[in-house]
């Protein structure tokens, strides 16, 4: 069941701003661990859990170390729901 890329972007942005309300929707696509306050590895774990719930997928915890930006997260989610 494929979801259109722009819908993935929109829904994942909502997940991201729930977790990091300091980011505006416009800033989210360029967000990285470095430019986002409070984003540590537990933040990634939280993002995984919220994305799992949002998309009905299971993001493997082995990928936590790889995901250091919104872009990477989006790629991973797209791979799973794609």
């Amino acid at each position: 069941m494929a979801i259109a890329p722009d819908r993935i972007r929109r829904r994942l942005t909502r997940v991201f701003t729930t977790m990091f309300p300091g980011k505006t929707v416009e800033d989210v696509p360029a967000a990285t661990m470095e430019n986002t306050d409070g984003w540590d590895s537990l933040g990634t774990l939280s993002l995984f859990t919220l994305a799992d719930e949002e998309f009905g997928i299971k993001l493997g915890l082995d990928r936590i170390g790889d995901v250091k930006s919104f872009e990477k997260l989006e790629a991973l989610v797209t791979e799973k729901v794609g």
Partner: protein, 592 residues
Amino acid sequence: MAEIHLSAKTIPALADILTLGTRIVAGAWPLPETDKLRSLRVHVMGTATTDMLARAIAVGCAQENVRPTISQSLYGSFMQDVLNPASELYTIRPDIAVIVSEWRSLVSDLPPSASEEDVAKVVDGKVSQILSVWKRISQDCGSKIIHHFPPPPPFRLTGIAETYLPASYTNQLRQLVQKLWSAETSGVQIIDFGEFALEHGLLKAFTPGGWYSAKLPIETGALPAYIPLFRSALRGALNTVKKALVLDLDNTIWGGVIGDDGVDGIKIGSGDAISEAYQAFQQYVKLLANRGIILAVCSKNNPDVAKTGFDKPGSILKVEDFAAFEASWEDKANGLRKIAKQINIGLDSLVFVDDNPAECALVRQELPEVATVLLDGEPADFITQVEQGYWFQFQKYSREDFGRTAAYTMRAAAIAEQDSASDLPSYLRGLEMIGTAEKPTEAQIERVVQLGQKTNQFNLLTQRFDTQAVHGFLDNADNIVLACTLKDKFGDHGLVSVLLAERKGSELDILEWTMSCRVFSRSFEQFIMNALFDLAKKKGVEQIVGRFKPTAKNAVVSDLYERLGFTSDGEGCWVCQVADNHTPLQTFITAG
């Protein structure tokens, strides 16, 4: 923000935990400030990573009107922190110490041939280690402890042979928790993740992957369901437990509307699935009552018609099971206020159960301190819907728990009598009360401690003495401990008041005095004070001194000493001379 209604959610959303919980752990307070908030230091530690759990704990605290300052031991340094007096733990001195033990830290690799005795020795070693950790934390930090024990490992090897093999991990864990539970653990709240796993799925709530990748003691996805369990332990630690279950009638404890369908039309009993499900729910409620949960009815009904529902064969509950019966057309918030007053407990001790979303919404709005459970869907699921709040979780039963419902029903009968009596003295005389005020026997000590721990209203200093303290106190023959019992024509209330006084030279200093709220205002306090004066005279005491320390709940005794003829010394102490010609206070209780 949806967070406004956080307190009304039995199971919060995962997003609440990951966002609000994260901010609270970081030291922010993203929720409204209210004067009901109580600030507490909460330290989380264990043999697992606690960061995610701490977020859930933060949300659970907020739901219980606690604003926590959360600190955590580093992963792996839990024992070092406990054993090292210079560690942060002893600087923080948390009000609540939360411990999480993972199964790998609690079991030993024993040969399958090990005998029961061999295994018991190993388990006993672990037990004494944990008891000493508890003792250290509670004595040196003054903390209340909430300790999480793990589910068994997620493999069965050879099945039932393994389960009952003495050396198996499962058996070691079972024995360990049972032995710890049986030990004197006053003040320690045990959370058993083994039970939680049965309810929520071992493989879903405790995945091996979560452990290997992040040393998580529980899956993040299971944290919402865990929060009510944590809250029950927190209430236990803070003595804010739920005491009463208030039930709607129509479509809650029977199917249909009694006013429309009549007794014959309502569904309860056997014969069809719906009637059986309602009967099972009534049976569940009855079992709770047998364990000391007080029952009450709050229903929009004509009271005479409403009561006929309990006459239907198949109805397990009877009108006499309820300590308060509010059936009227008034709104339910008012009904609940009346019930709380009649039973004489706080609104925050009530759990209200109703099938009507509008009634539940009104109560949540008007009385957020009442725990509200909306029954939704099939009656077959009602028990689960109540259970998932973990509203009534005791660490242990005492004999008094089993008789409490009857005692409150008796109190309700006595109040009804009071309404009909023309004046208070003749009412009190008519109760034919018999009291005792004597040194407690060994068998009574548990109840003496429990009364001090649980009583919030008639509790002058709220010292919460534990068993050890009471024993220590009794060891000195100059001190006085009075365990006071009361019975009346409606029944035996049992041990309902405790007074502890310390001899200091020619003075007798009342260090604590508690009384169960069900026997207030019956001249029992005068009876006990007379007994204390008699003893004081015999011991050659010249004056008795008492103090009062206000809390949110004990205003009822703020003027107690004044009423008993004590005079204020202007510095917070109340004093009364023990003269030979001291006139006993008026009481309507005969010494038994």
